[in-house]
């Protein structure tokens, strides 16, 4: 697998390049936005990990360019910007904030690659999810890997403890509203979080 690592910090890039190498994956490093764009146009990548602090060209533009080439992206962002990024429609497949341990990062990498490799589509409450494209079918509204997992879990039944997923639930409800859907993820007393049709 070929990975593009775009971050202004040399130490992070070189360490992660070695970690990817140990997994048998090749990783190219870009220290700024210009280098990252150049790599994208010249190389063939299965994944891009882009830092929000990339100089010269904003990370969102790099991510858009990568997605246009069918390359899923992970964005490394500041913690307090996570909600804003989830709602802003930036088409990264995951938003991680430093410090992220290699185990967690590679967990996300594997989950995203698995989704990107499958051609799965599923529907829940009238909404169709394009898993490979990481988006809501029809509208192209981007979804993150966690949001896809959440929708898949809700398809199977109500969820009780979603303590660490509440940000994604809010983001999903906003995206469903943008998509013009009447479905919402709501909490039903004694049942848990369900996808509920508001018109019902």
């Amino acid at each position: 697998m070929q990975v593009l690592l775009a971050d202004p910090h040399r130490d992070i890039l070189l360490t992660y390049q070695k970690l990817f190498a140990l997994r048998g994956d090749a990783a190219d490093c870009a220290f700024d936005g210009t280098q990252a764009l150049t790599c994208l146009t010249q190389g063939d990548y299965q994944l891009a990990i882009v830092s929000s602090r990339l100089p010269r060209i904003r990370a969102e533009k790099i991510i858009e360019a990568a997605r246009a080439r069918g390359v899923p992206c992970i964005e490394l962002i500041d913690t307090h910007l996570r909600s804003a990024h989830l709602l802003s429609g930036v088409s990264a497949c995951a938003f991680l904030s430093l410090p992220v341990s290699p185990d967690i990062l590679f967990g996300y990498v594997d989950a995203i690659l698995q989704k990107a490799a499958c051609g799965e589509r599923f529907s829940v409450a009238g909404v169709t999810v394009d898993v490979r494209g990481f988006c809501l079918e029809g509208s192209g509204i981007p979804l993150t890997s966690k949001e896809i997992d959440l929708l898949r879990a809700l398809k199977d039944g109500p969820l009780k403890d979603v303590r660490h997923l509440s940000t994604y639930i809010n983001a999903l409800n906003n995206k469903l509203a943008m998509h013009g859907q009447s479905a919402r993820i709501s909490y039903v007393l004694k049942k848990g979080y369900c996808v509920v049709n508001q018109n019902a």
Partner: protein, 399 residues
């Protein structure tokens, strides 16, 4: 910083008011005292002259507080209005009357003097000064009209009051302007401190990530050792410290944290999570959660708030607890109510840090839960209050 500025202005105004009032009070006091002393000298002269002004100066010139006491009485006789009544020492029989007060009959003068006979000296009917002297088998009462002499002190008093009000008003506007400039360095320091904490938190993330990834790499290449395990533990601890720093900055209102979410759903979720705890404690819990109530703010902050409120009810409720959420006048109203055996009092102290009331004995905790709730409400721009009466403890939150 606004609170600090308000306190500063209030304290400064109070100080100016107290100082000015004291100073002007002393000046006016001196003014009135001098008038009274002058009047006393005149009444003494009249009493000595048995109701009339004595021409000759006394053998020794008595000194008043502010200069020689005796002065030529010629101008006084012309300007002063007075009356003197001499009574026999025993009984009320009048020996003589010297009436030089316009508009007053002799009988009225005698009646007035009779009412003052048992006194010594002082003011009567506001502007009249009197003196009572007893000698040679008789009592002499002299009353002089000081209304003209009092004009000046009263004028000074009025000017003092108006002047003080004017000074206070000017001082207020000056303090408004000056306090902003004076407190600017403090505000700047406070802002820099917060920014420093936020930037420190951000800047520590990169080195920590590198250390974490480097340790992982070392373990993969050379195997885990005691050293690498120890490094992992330290990295975990530093990550925990970073989260605490993050919590310090996150409580500040920040548009990046804000999102619109369903508060009704959040309430229901937290209630469901704690339902089993209420059952286990044998407490009756009644939720009244209006559907469709949304809020723009910090979702995680509100979750923690609800958690703390329910935790507080679980610990200290006797019998019955309830949580109400509704919308009222474009505000979100959250009421947490529970039975209590505490005596009625001002319950606002529960929001102070490290405050534990008497019913907290036997329960764990440092008295921080409700102060944390207050911090979250303030960060959300809301208001919180507590009431304790008739065996019920109520927390009311307006968002």
């Amino acid at each position: 910083m606004r609170k600090v500025r308000k306190k500063f202005i209030l304290f400064a105004m109070l100080s100016i008011f107290v100082l000015l009032t004291a100073l002007l009070g002393i000046l006016n006091g001196i003014s009135f005292t001098r008038t009274a002393e002058d009047a006393d000298r005149v009444t003494q002269m009249l009493c000595d002259g048995h109701g009339s002004f004595d021409q000759s100066p006394p053998p020794e010139q008595p000194q008043g507080r502010f200069g020689p006491a005796w002065r030529d009485t010629q101008p006084l006789r012309a300007s002063i209005q007075y009356f003197t009544v001499g009574f026999k020492k025993s009984g009320d029989d009048v020996k003589f009357v010297e009436q030089h007060l316009a508009g007053l009959s002799e009988d009225d003068a005698v009646a007035w003097a009779r009412s003052l006979k048992n006194g010594e000296t002082g003011w009567t009917k506001t502007v009249y000064r009197y003196r009572v002297v007893s000698d040679d088998g008789r009592t002499i009462v002299t009353v002089i009209d000081q209304s003209r002499e009092l004009l000046s002190p009263y004028r000074i008093l009025k000017i003092s009051i108006v002047g003080e009000l004017a000074v206070l008003l000017i001082a207020f506007f000056v303090l408004l302007f000056v306090s902003k400039r004076l407190l600017k360095p403090l505000e700047e320091t406070d802002r820099k401190q917060k920014r420093f904490i936020a930037e420190l938190e951000q800047e520590l993330r990169v080195p920590l990530t590198v250390l974490d990834a480097g340790t992982e790499l070392t373990e993969k290449e050379h195997g885990a050792t005691d050293v690498t395990r120890s490094m992992r533990r330290q990295i975990k601890q530093m990550a925990h410290l970073l989260r605490s720093l993050e919590a310090l900055t996150v409580l500040e209102p920040d548009e990046h944290n804000a999102s619109t979410f369903s508060l009704s759903d959040l309430c229901n979720q937290v209630i469901d999570t704690r339902a089993a705890d209420f059952e286990m404690r044998g407490l009756r819990f009644t939720p009244h959660i209006a559907p469709g109530v949304t809020l723009t703010g910090d979702n995680e902050g509100m979750r923690k708030l609800l958690d703390e409120l329910l935790e507080n009810q679980l610990k200290f409720s006797t019998g019955h607890a309830s949580l109400t959420l509704k919308e009222e006048n474009n505000h979100v109203l959250l009421l947490a109510q529970n039975g209590t055996d505490l005596a009625p009092r001002n319950a606002e102290a529960v929001f102070d840090r490290f405050t534990r009331l008497e019913n907290a004995v036997g329960h764990s905790g440092a008295g921080l839960g409700l102060s944390y709730v207050k911090d979250i409400v303030k960060a959300q721009g809301g208001r919180i209050s507590a009431e304790l009466k008739d065996g019920t403890f109520l927390i009311k939150i307006n968002l």
